[in-house]
């Protein structure tokens, strides 16, 4: 079976140089931030790929690349056999965009406070020219709201009249309006409380089963990722370091960074456990270390790790970028 979504060597570089005059006077070179640096993966139809990593590792930039909010500096995105970023620029792009939708993190910021829920959910339908008859529009909005567990009567309220979890459902209803096949969810439950998070995650799973949706799910919460995903990609400083099936990744994590992340999560079962957390912090992405980006924090780093950057290699059913694993040292 071919993948619905295929990212090939996606990269995104931001120019964060000082202004032209400063560069001229102070003789400073251009500064480039490699937010995403060669990320490849594929997602099969109806499956969920989760991307995890700490702040600044490029998760959200990948999401924005996939929905076409950024144009990649290198690499391409193949969606259902089509080169997505080439098509986004043509008139056919609108049709393609309606098949890829996004859910954002903060439901307080992503809904216009001055619009009725009716207008918020109907906007994509009008924008993509799918429905123009007002009566039909109202009916469609009602159905969409019922799908996410809200009442059609809620369409005449404003976002502030809803709680965080309900607002996130409105965002989901809006994202589903154009009947997309692929949903990019950027930290959809991070702003929510746990009991409400459970409601939203359950709805997302039910909708996936019912509509055959494909998800890219971005989160920093590994427990949530384990719950929703089929495959998990771990990112560190703009690159994928490990990509594996959920069972393999949580059952036997191979990359030292993945192990560290899993170990760093406070667990409910270990009351009062003392532990020694991994030292150090994520390096500055403007000035990443030579070789493997994780080497300053890695207990298994050797000379090779400090000089040569590991590539993502297929190894025993998973893909991993680590010299130590490749050489069989760990």
């Amino acid at each position: 079976m071919t993948a619905l979504v295929q990212a090939n060597d996606l990269a995104m570089t931001f120019d964060v140089s000082a202004p032209w005059l400063n560069r001229l006077i102070e003789r400073r070179p251009r500064t480039l931030l490699r937010a995403v640096d060669g990320v490849s993966f594929e997602i099969e139809k109806g499956k969920t790929l989760a991307l995890v990593g700490e702040s600044g590792c490029g998760k959200s930039t990948v999401a924005r690349l996939l929905v076409g909010l950024h144009e990649p500096s290198r690499g391409n995105l193949v969606f259902d056999g089509l080169d997505a970023h080439a098509i986004f620029k043509t008139p056919a792009g609108l049709k393609l965009r309606s098949r890829i939708q996004m859910i954002f993190q903060d439901p307080y910021a992503s809904l216009n406070p001055r619009w009725l829920v009716q207008d918020i959910v109907a906007e994509p339908l009008i924008e993509h020219g799918l429905v123009s008859d007002p009566a039909e529009l109202r009916a469609r909005v009602g159905v969409l709201l019922s799908d996410v567990g809200l009442s059609p009567l809620d369409s005449f309220k404003y976002p502030h009249q809803f709680s965080g979890g309900q607002r996130q459902r409105i965002s989901i209803a809006r994202a589903l309006a154009t009947q997309p096949e692929f949903l990019v969810c950027d930290e959809p439950t991070s702003a929510l409380d746990v009991s409400v998070q459970a409601q939203v995650l359950n709805i997302m799973k039910d909708l996936q089963r019912k509509l055959g949706l494909t998800y890219l799910f971005i989160s920093h919460n590994l427990a949530v990722v384990r719950h929703v995903s089929d495959q998990v990609g771990v990112m560190y400083l703009g690159r994928l370091v490990e990509l594996a099936d959920k069972q393999a990744l949580f059952g036997s994590p191979r990359h030292p960074y993945t192990r560290m992340l899993i170990d760093a999560i406070p667990k409910m079962t270990d009351t009062g456990r003392a532990r020694t957390p991994v030292q150090g912090e994520v390096p500055n992405p403007l000035n990443p270390p030579l070789g493997c980006a994780f080497n300053p924090r890695c207990p298994h780093a050797n000379e090779r790790c400090r000089s040569e950057r590991p590539n993502l290699l297929a190894l025993a059913g998973i893909r991993i970028a680590c010299h130590a694993v490749e050489e069989g040292r760990i």
Binding site: S195, N221, R226, H227, I262, M268, R273, Q279
Partner: protein, 328 residues
């Protein structure tokens, strides 16, 4: 004797259209050197509890009734000037966002020395030495040089270490830590939690740790208090509350947390949402969402009742023949 006693604390916010009760009859105590976790969802009153204890309630919020006792002495009715002397000296505070709790215009050394000299009779030089040793205790590399740096020159995790050093500066007996790791990444969070636990033990300080993350509570605390809609739902030893919750809300909350060690097809969800402060239902505040609500729950508010090793405000424990159902 308890270090801190909170007795029937009520915090109210007067409002044009009536009065909102943010904390309603909350009682608990903290023993010397103990770590008490306070959990609850947004709006449950966790931060208000912390703010009331350190005397930093935002007006018009006020303590309407109840008492707060620090080492047996009432501190809830003290004036701003007296409270200012207690804050920092006897109760330290750590807030969520380390960038906003440090002054961007002063070096961290100036801020530490100021705090130390406000509360302790030390010379400039002695205070400087103490500041360096505090920074060393909190794991900041090369403290002699770092002391002259400004907050923006530190990363988020390092800033939070500085804030912890500030909170410990005058050797307080109690530290109120309001979501100290929420703004940090998971690997840094683990470092900060371990540090907080370690230095507080070393300095003999008790901690009131406010967080919404049950994992952090499980790993750090001795006892935990669960708040719901401004009321104490359950309080007890952390192991008991997590593994044998006595209140249906606590049980639901535990089952709603995705577990990293096992797969579940569906998460347990508590339907509905926490009531708003202006619409708290009569009786038990949780009854509209409770799968086991009795007739009594709709009209009478339960007191904290003994339930095994913990105490829960739930009528199910009034009659010992009724047992709590495990959520699916």
């Amino acid at each position: 004797m308890s270090l801190l006693q909170v007795k029937n604390l009520v915090v109210e916010f007067p409002h044009r259209r009536g009065t909102l009760r943010a904390l309603d009859d909350v009682s608990f105590d903290i023993a010397p050197g103990e770590i008490l976790g306070v959990v609850g969802e947004s709006g449950a009153g966790k931060s208000i509890t912390g703010a009331a204890i350190i005397g930093l309630l935002e007006p018009p919020g006020r303590i309407a009734s109840g008492q707060i006792l620090l080492e047996g002495e009432r501190i809830d009715h003290l004036g701003p000037e007296q409270m200012r002397r207690i804050r920092g000296k006897r109760i330290g505070a750590i807030f969520q966002d380390p960038l906003t709790s440090l002054n961007p215009l002063y070096t961290i050394g100036q801020q530490l020395v100021e705090t130390i000299r406000t509360h302790l009779p030390l010379s400039e030089k002695q205070a400087q030495e103490r500041a360096v040793s505090l920074l060393r205790d909190t794991g900041i590399p090369a403290p002699e040089q770092r002391i002259d740096h400004f907050p923006h020159q530190f990363s988020g995790g390092m800033r939070q270490r500085v804030v912890i050093a500030l909170a410990l500066a005058a050797e307080p007996k109690l530290i109120v830590a309001d979501e100290p790791t929420t703004a940090l990444d998971v690997s840094i969070q683990a470092q900060i939690i371990t540090l907080l636990k370690g230095v507080c033990k070393q300095h003999g300080a008790a901690v009131m740790l406010i967080t919404h993350d049950m994992g952090v509570i499980a790993e750090t605390c001795d006892r935990v208090a669960v708040l719901y809609a401004g009321r104490l739902a359950e309080i007890g030893p952390v192991h008991e509350v997590i593994n044998h919750p006595a209140h249906p809300y606590t049980a639901g909350l535990m089952a709603a947390i995705p577990d990293i060690t096992q797969d579940r097809e569906r998460l347990n969800q508590i339907d509905g949402a926490m009531p708003r402060l202006n619409a708290i239902p009569p009786g038990c505040a949780f009854h509209p969402r409770c799968p086991q609500a009795l007739a009594q729950c709709k009209s009478e508010r339960p007191e904290l009742l003994g339930a095994g090793a913990t105490s829960a405000a739930c009528w199910l424990h009034a009659d010992k023949s009724v047992t709590l159902r495990e959520p699916a």
